[in-house]
């Protein structure tokens, strides 16, 4: 169990006019490889900001954040993009698949930015789509797939670069309950295969799928131990 993510005294403020608005207060978090972590909090609690910082979409106002050996504070925009590409796999609530591309092309997309050759991209993307159970849907456009299938394409896209962490923002928010559970089961399966997953949600039932849950409220992070369901 090696530590792959470490946050020390992270603060994040936004400026609304002249007034500073502190969203995160002295957040400390450590994630080991193989963890399945849920960040649970109501809307406005700062969980989206938390996800942006974890995902290197945004940088903290102060504090130290190290992801897989990269000190995020020191990086410029291009370097941040490279870290996102290599270390983070995003799964969004609304899937965010590009509508004009087939499932396979969508999964290939991050590998384009990695700089992989077309043949290698295809090989990797096909393998990962098989893993999420969509080997027969590779040539389909997103609007020809069901919500659950679309989310699985999105998960495949997140996994294709073999990232250090899989970062999911309300991954079941746009799905019905049954499909949502299927996606969560997929997460569990992926986790048991060795993927490190951080899932952000406002739903305590969904958070309980994770091995470990942290609560976020008004920008304060508190760890809670829960029994496995």
């Amino acid at each position: 169990m090696t530590e792959i993510l470490s946050m020390k005294n992270i603060n994040k403020s936004y400026y609304m006019g002249d007034e500073a608005c502190e969203v995160l207060h002295n957040v400390n978090l450590s994630v080991n490889s193989g963890d399945f972590l849920s960040i649970l909090g109501p809307s406005g609690s700062g969980k989206t900001t938390m996800m942006n910082i974890i995902g290197c979409l945004d940088v903290a106002t102060s504090g130290k954040y190290i992801l897989s050996g990269n000190d995020i504070e020191d990086l410029n925009e291009s370097e941040l993009a490279a870290v996102r590409n290599k270390e983070v796999g995003f799964v969004f609530q609304s899937f965010q698949l590009l509508p004009r591309m087939t499932a396979l092309q969508n999964v290939e997309l991050p590998l384009i930015y990695t700089g992989l050759k077309s043949s290698e991209r295809k090989k990797k993307a096909k393998a990962i789509l098989e893993k999420v159970g969509l080997s027969d849907k590779m040539k389909y456009l997103p609007n020809q797939l069901s919500g659950g299938q679309q989310q699985r394409v999105a998960i495949a896209r997140a996994l294709v670069t073999e990232p250090t962490i899989l970062l999911a923002d309300e991954p079941t928010g746009a799905l019905d309950q049954k499909t949502g559970i299927q996606v969560l089961d997929l997460f569990k399966e992926l986790n048991s295969d060795g993927s490190t997953i951080i899932m952000i949600t406002h739903d305590i039932n969904i958070a309980s799928y994770a091995k470990r849950v942290v609560n976020i409220l008004d920008g304060n992070l508190t760890e809670q131990r829960r029994g496995v369901q």
Partner: protein, 390 residues
């Protein structure tokens, strides 16, 4: 990496076919009008220049109106002018209209020109068959004639005119040569002309003095000096009365004509360039709309690891693509317009390499200039805001 960006840009342009086409239209019209205008003006300039050149750039024309005491140039004046350095020869022209009779057939209103041997030496293509008038014909006032194509057709149909005798103004002339046919458009058509030695013409046409003299130059660059020298001779000949003559340098005319045409084509191209700018603004507008539409996509691409440079590159390539395709269509359209116009007006069609490069260069530059700002805007989008905008 570049290949991927090109592919993505291309897919996006093809996906929005109608919009892409309408956006390109500004560039198409701009480039087409520039190409068409330049090619047409160039064709016209070439055609007119060729005609003027056929008159001779190395030629100074002297017209002697004469004074009451002296009606024109005499032999001595012509010799004096011929002796000026840089003058390769002087060719007097005596012109009159009269009828020509061959074998009891009359042809009226024929231009009879009295010339000397210099005239034929300056243009060796002048004679089609037979021989030219030589210096002996001039000295001996020989009754020989060189005739044009229309006279051959009119009087000698099916007969070889060489050696035949014709009557001009009651004098018998032997035909020694024929003139090459000049094109119908030429200002100096020789087709309905009989050329005889000018010395003979002075006698048989009833004209006593030479009123027109073509002076041929060795070096056209110092034509201005030669003009001064010629005026010196003429001043002496006409007792310093400068109303008695005029000296006209053909080279000056061609030069001023070409300057005028160049200015005109520049002016027209300038006007057409304005439409290119308008087209460029159209492209910028479409790019901005496209970026607004694709904000989420840009945000997603950034989240997946696209650097700002990558995003910028993709949008610039898209803008360049749009304007280059527009430029290419404009090139084809402009060439077509110029070709049709050239055929209609009857001038030459020559698509110059420089105008092709101009079209490609201009449209490429428009793409870069007007694509830069939107592309930069796209590259600076914050991925968080961009993703949230869905």
């Amino acid at each position: 990496m570049l290949l991927e960006s090109i592919k993505m840009s291309w897919e996006n342009i093809v996906h929005n076919k109608l919009r892409s086409f309408l956006t390109m239209l500004g560039i198409v019209i701009g480039v087409a009008s520039i190409i068409a205008l330049i090619t047409i003006v160039q064709g016209a300039t070439n055609s007119i220049s060729d005609q003027v050149n056929a008159l001779g750039v190395n030629k100074i024309t002297v017209t002697a109106f004469g004074t009451p005491l002296k009606h024109g140039l005499n032999d001595r004046d012509i010799r004096d002018i011929a002796k000026i350095s840089n003058v390769s020869g002087a060719s007097p022209t005596i012109s009159g209209k009269t009828s020509v009779i061959y074998n009891k057939e009359i042809r009226d209103d024929v231009t009879v020109q009295g010339k000397n041997e210099v005239y034929f030496k300056t243009d060796t293509t002048l004679i089609k068959s037979g021989r030219a008038i030589n210096i002996l014909d001039i000295k001996n006032k020989n009754q020989v004639a060189v005739i044009g194509e229309d006279i051959i057709k009119g009087l000698f149909f099916g007969v070889d005119p060489l050696g035949k005798k014709i009557m001009i103004n009651g004098t018998t002339f032997t035909i020694i040569g024929t003139l090459s046919e000049s094109s119908g458009f030429s200002i100096t058509s020789n087709n309905d002309t009989v050329v005889i030695p000018y010395t003979t013409a002075l006698r048989s046409l009833g004209i006593k003095n030479v009123t027109n003299l073509d002076v041929y130059l060795n070096n056209t660059k110092i034509a201005d000096d030669t003009v001064i020298d010629i005026k010196g001779v003429l001043n002496r000949a006409f007792n310093y009365n400068d109303d008695a003559y005029s000296v006209f340098n053909m080279g000056d005319m061609i030069e001023s004509f070409q300057t005028m045409m160049a200015m005109m084509s520049l002016l027209l191209a300038g006007i057409a360039a304005i439409s290119l700018v308008v087209g460029g603004i159209g492209i910028m507008n479409m790019m901005l709309v496209s970026i607004t539409e694709r904000t989420t996509e840009i945000g997603l691409r950034k989240a997946l690891g696209a650097t700002p440079g990558r995003i910028q590159l993709q949008f610039i390539i898209e803008a360049i693509f749009l304007s280059l395709i527009g430029g290419f269509i404009g090139l084809l359209l402009g060439s077509l317009i110029a070709y049709v116009a050239a055929k209609l007006i009857g001038i030459g069609f020559a698509l110059s390499m420089s105008s092709i490069l101009l079209a490609v260069g201009f449209s490429g530059a428009v793409g870069i200039i007007f694509g830069y700002m939107p592309a930069r805007k796209a590259s600076r989008l914050n991925p968080i805001d961009a993703l949230r905008s869905l």
